[in-house]
């Protein structure tokens, strides 16, 4: 019985996580991770990687909670192990600030982060422009370390990595793949002609401010300060349908001003660099399977894209669900097609 050939398209954090889940669990499959870009050139590499999330409007909250919980539990285990520094995973405590008291004081993931609570009056004194805040400990997952670490794990599980641009799914059927796992992010717009996919441009600065130990995030996430292993990421911007990959000096200026108001010591921080990422956004993430007739063959396709700004945050949880969808595909295959 020949092995089932699985290809995961897209080597960002979602594709890499999904590929690892499949390769480590479905040992009767041969798994290929295919993409035109790999770390450090993926969108995930630009992300600060802090686990925080906003809900998708049409997906049951329980399902999203499971995605969040699965991801943070997986990363917490890594953070407390010897692998932490290799994998680029660290605990991060800090404050989420609001200019007025929010209607919903507890985001849907509040029970999955550590020690979630309302900020005390004394803590709020440091932020005179804000009236309410939440303090908690979450995880920061730095993809410039995490993606190479995942790739090592993937190869150890027998996975193959191929650098190749995929123009359409037919190509993959012609190459003999039985199951296609589509983690192409923004690329899904053309790859599977999904008009719901659109970029949300984000610009970030990396600054040298080693005295900062806490993250600070303003309400809806317009402004944020995320201390990492080697630098502090400050941002950001949210420009829908903006495809520009070049840094905008006006945005940099604006980011520095907004963040310095939150944390005055940033005025003394040296700027190390500026980057831009296009969040692969969609009204709701697409995580589902379909059976397609491609080039005369029946091919199972599992979609796992459209995570917007929450790719790292939901990476492992959605990867696990994608894995279970792939499993379903395998169980439902008629025996003849396995020959």
């Amino acid at each position: 019985m020949k092995r089932v050939k699985v290809v995961v398209v897209g080597a960002g954090v979602v594709g890499s996580s999904t590929a690892v889940c499949i390769a480590e669990t479905l040992t009767n499959c041969s798994v290929t991770l295919m993409g035109d870009r790999f770390t450090p050139d993926t969108t995930s590499d630009i992300a600060a990687g802090i686990l925080i999330c906003a809900p998708f409007p049409d997906i049951p909250l329980e399902r999203q909670q499971k995605w969040f919980k699965d991801t943070i539990d997986h990363l917490l285990t890594i953070a407390q192990s010897e692998e932490a520094s290799d994998a680029g995973v660290l605990l991060s405590s800090g404050w989420q600030l609001h200019k007025s008291v929010p209607v919903d004081k507890k985001p849907f993931w509040s029970e999955f982060v550590l020690g979630f609570r309302t900020m005390t009056d004394q803590e709020l004194k440091r932020f005179p422009n804000h009236k309410f805040g939440q303090a908690f400990t979450t995880v920061k997952c730095e993809c410039s370390n995490y993606l190479p670490w995942l790739e090592k794990r993937f190869r150890k599980a027998g996975g193959q990595v191929v650098k190749q641009k995929v123009n359409n799914l037919q190509e993959l059927s012609t190459q003999g793949y039985d199951v296609i796992v589509n983690c192409s992010g923004l690329g899904a717009k053309t790859l599977v002609e999904d008009s719901q996919v659109y970029p949300v441009r984000g610009q970030v600065l990396k600054v040298h401010a080693p005295w900062l130990q806490h993250f600070i995030r303003d309400g809806e996430g317009q402004s944020y300060i995320y201390p990492g292993m080697h630098s502090v990421t400050i941002g950001g911007t949210r420009q829908a349908d903006d495809w520009r990959l070049e840094p905008d000096p006006g945005d940099s200026q604006n980011i520095l001003e907004r963040c310095s108001r939150l944390e005055p010591s940033l005025r003394r921080a040296r700027v190390l660099g500026v980057s831009v990422g296009l969040r692969p956004s969609r009204k709701n993430v697409r995580l589902e399977r379909e059976l397609l007739l491609l080039g005369g063959r029946q091919v199972d396709v599992v979609h796992n894209y459209g995570h917007g700004g929450w790719g790292v945050t939901l990476s492992w949880g959605t990867a696990l669900e994608a894995l279970s969808l792939v499993r379903q595909c395998l169980y439902q295959r008629p025996p003849s097609s396995r020959l």
Binding site: L76, A79, Q80, S81, E82, E83, A84, S85, D86, G88, V89, L90, L91, S92, S93, L114, G115, R117, M119, T120, Q122, E123, R126, A135, T137, P210, W211, L212, Q213, H214, P227, M229, H230, P264, S265, R267, R268
Partner: protein, 332 residues
């Protein structure tokens, strides 16, 4: 008036600062001199990085500088972390000198197998090796003079015309005046590179004693790993057995340290005393009477309470001025 401060650790420098702040406009001229054989970065305070247990006064004082442009140069910053115990304990006295104090949740305790109870809070950190140079610059800018030499006796200073002596000689106070209650509490630490650590982790063992249980405190440039507290040990040499013991305990507490690069060891002698000696003493040398204010014996918490102690020393200074009629009572 000439005031001589002996000792340039955090106690000496901050006392000089408090006295200058409160009296430089009342006593003209007020000459403050600091004498020490060791200055930063070679003092005990330089190896120290202090968290939690702030005496409220020191905490409030430093907190007020956090949003100022000086905060980075002062070496102060906020950091959150974990206090771990092997059994439940009453809330510590420092809970009012920190931000956001609370007990640890079950899930948090799962991160630290072997510990069943603890607290989380946000503390103000002060890095000795940054704070001391800042204090020295502050004092220099205001005309305080520094002299590198070992003072052999109070008499030496009195004979040269000093009016009041501030004794901040820490662990070597015994060289100037025998004190049976003062003893070194030797500590050795490892400095490591582990930039992924953003929280301090301090374990409390009620049997071994706090500084003997492992602790990990990230600084702005490296992470300090300890602990060791050896009463009566005067050795300032790094000890390889202590190194091994400290390192193993820390890696057990925080497995991610396994891949941290060890930069160097450092040893310091905490000036341990049953309680801090913060009093004034009238002394006599031949025909001369002189006043000494003692401010030493802060053990492992010198940085933690330095401002509170310095302010108290300045208050004692005022008492002396009043007693001697050196300044009208109404202006104090």
């Amino acid at each position: 008036m000439r005031v001589a401060v002996i000792g340039a650790g955090v106690s000496g420098l901050s006392t000089a600062q408090s006295i200058f702040e409160q009296y430089h406009s009342l006593i003209i001229p007020l000459t403050i001199e600091v004498y020490a054989d060791r200055f930063t970065p070679l003092t005990t305070s330089d190896g120290a990085i202090s968290a939690c247990k702030w005496c409220k006064e020191t905490f409030d004082y430093l907190l007020s500088f956090l949003r100022s442009p000086d905060s980075i140069k002062m070496g102060i910053f906020l950091q959150s972390g974990y206090n771990l115990c092997s059994e439940s304990a009453p809330d510590p006295s420092f809970k009012d000198s920190v931000l956001g104090f609370r007990t640890l949740t079950e899930r948090e305790l799962e991160l630290f197998p072997g510990y069943s109870y603890g607290w989380f809070n946000t503390a103000l950190m002060v890095e000795g090796k940054t704070y001391l140079p800042w204090l020295m610059d502050w004092l220099r800018e205001r005309g305080v003079k520094f002299y590198q030499r070992k003072i052999e006796s109070f008499k030496e200073l009195v004979d040269s015309g000093v009016d009041i002596i501030i004794n901040c000689t820490g662990v070597r106070s015994g060289d100037l005046q025998f004190d049976p209650e003062l003893t070194p509490g030797r500590g050795q630490i490892l400095k490591v590179q582990a930039p992924w650590l953003k929280h301090w982790i301090i374990t409390h063992s009620f049997t071994a004693g706090t500084y003997n249980a492992p602790y990990i405190i990230p600084g702005s440039q490296s992470v300090v790993v300890g602990g060791c507290f050896q009463i009566g040990n005067w050795s300032e040499q790094n000890n390889s057995e202590d190194h091994q013991r400290i390192w193993e305990a820390a890696c057990k507490l925080e497995p991610s340290l396994k891949h941290a690069q060890i930069v160097e060891d450092w040893t310091g002698l905490r000036p341990v005393r049953s309680k801090v000696r913060l009093v004034r003493e009238s002394m006599q040398s031949g025909q001369s009477k002189f006043e000494v204010i003692h401010n030493y014996g802060h053990g492992g918490f010198g940085l933690t309470i330095h401002r509170g102690c310095a302010q108290e020393a300045a208050r004692l200074f005022g008492e002396i001025l009043e007693l001697k009629d050196w300044v009208p009572k109404s202006s104090l």
